[in-house]
């Protein structure tokens, strides 16, 4: 039977014990087990789950990486963002660079990508890090003879 004072206990808690190392009596002790789940798909909203009161608590949180990841129209050789404000010409290929803005987070791979508009008129080619170790480069190629819905 589960101890009613202890919800989702992982171990016994200590109550009223003498801490020899500090010459003090610990009357109440709470152990907060904190789990933070990282969602790596860039569209996650942080949420915290609060469990009911107990002495030994399992806490859960979430974290996203959206603030680390940016994308830009990049140069055709994949060497960096194309800062020139040139418009993309009809039927021209588009190189998209996806990169991390911080040394704290690196991008290992691109798992999936969704094109929101005219998806059937384009084909995506993942060049990954062939062109640059810093950027993940996706080449978007317009398909000839295709018309938007």
């Amino acid at each position: 039977m589960q101890n009613p004072r202890c919800y989702k206990c992982a171990r016994l808690f200590n109550w009223l014990y003498f801490d020899n190392s500090n010459n003090e009596v610990v009357v109440v002790e709470e152990r907060h087990e904190i789990d933070v789940t990282f969602k790596l798909d860039f569209d996650y909203t942080t949420s915290n789950v609060v469990l009911e009161a107990a002495t030994n608590k399992l806490l859960e949180g979430g974290a996203d990486v959206v603030s680390y990841v940016q994308a830009c129209k990049c140069k055709t050789d994949g060497s960096g963002c194309d800062e020139a404000e040139s418009k993309l010409l009809p039927n021209a290929e588009l190189h998209v660079c996806i990169y991390s803005t911080s040394a704290d987070v690196g991008i290992d791979y691109l798992d999936s990508m969704v094109r929101a508009r005219m998806s059937r008129c384009f084909r995506s080619v993942l060049l990954h890090s062939l062109l640059s170790p810093k950027f993940i480069v996706v080449l978007i190629i317009p398909l000839t003879g295709c018309h938007a819905d």
């Binding site: 801490d19 009596v25 109440v28 709470e30 087990e33 904190i34 990282f38 911080s102």
Partner: protein, 124 residues
């Protein structure tokens, strides 16, 4: 027995001994400086201690060499007029985010970072 009597006497004079969990906030944004914020209620007039962060089992210290650099803990204790029996204890944990991925606290497969924060009320 004597110890228990002393504590019982203190208890009667000063009120209850309690720690209550209020909230856990997480912020691992690029520019965050406090990644974990734990908000608790602790009985007023009781001395609290916030121990160093531990591994998820709540026993194992965070191993060297990362223990000294991986986290820094700070705390604020606030009293509010609308609560005569409890103070608010805010435990703030600043983590070096660049060390998370390679740390033993992070499970790359499940993408979960697991740590343990122990808070005590003590008598010296």
């Amino acid at each position: 027995m004597q110890l228990i009597l002393i504590l019982f006497t203190i208890n009667v004079i000063q009120g209850p001994w309690a720690i209550g969990f209020e909230k856990l906030d997480t912020n691992f944004d690029k520019n965050s400086d406090k990644e974990l914020t734990l908000i608790l209620k602790v009985s007023r007039n009781r001395t609290h201690k916030v121990l160093d962060l531990r591994m998820g089992d709540c026993k194992t210290p965070i191993p060297n060499p990362i223990s000294g650099d991986f986290f820094a803990t700070s705390e604020d204790r606030n009293s509010f007029d609308n609560d005569a029996t409890n103070d608010e204890l805010v435990v703030k944990i600043d983590m070096d985010k660049s060390m998370i991925a390679d740390s033993p606290m992070y499970n790359a497969e499940s993408k979960v970072l697991q740590v343990c924060q122990i808070v005590q009320l003590v008598v010296f």
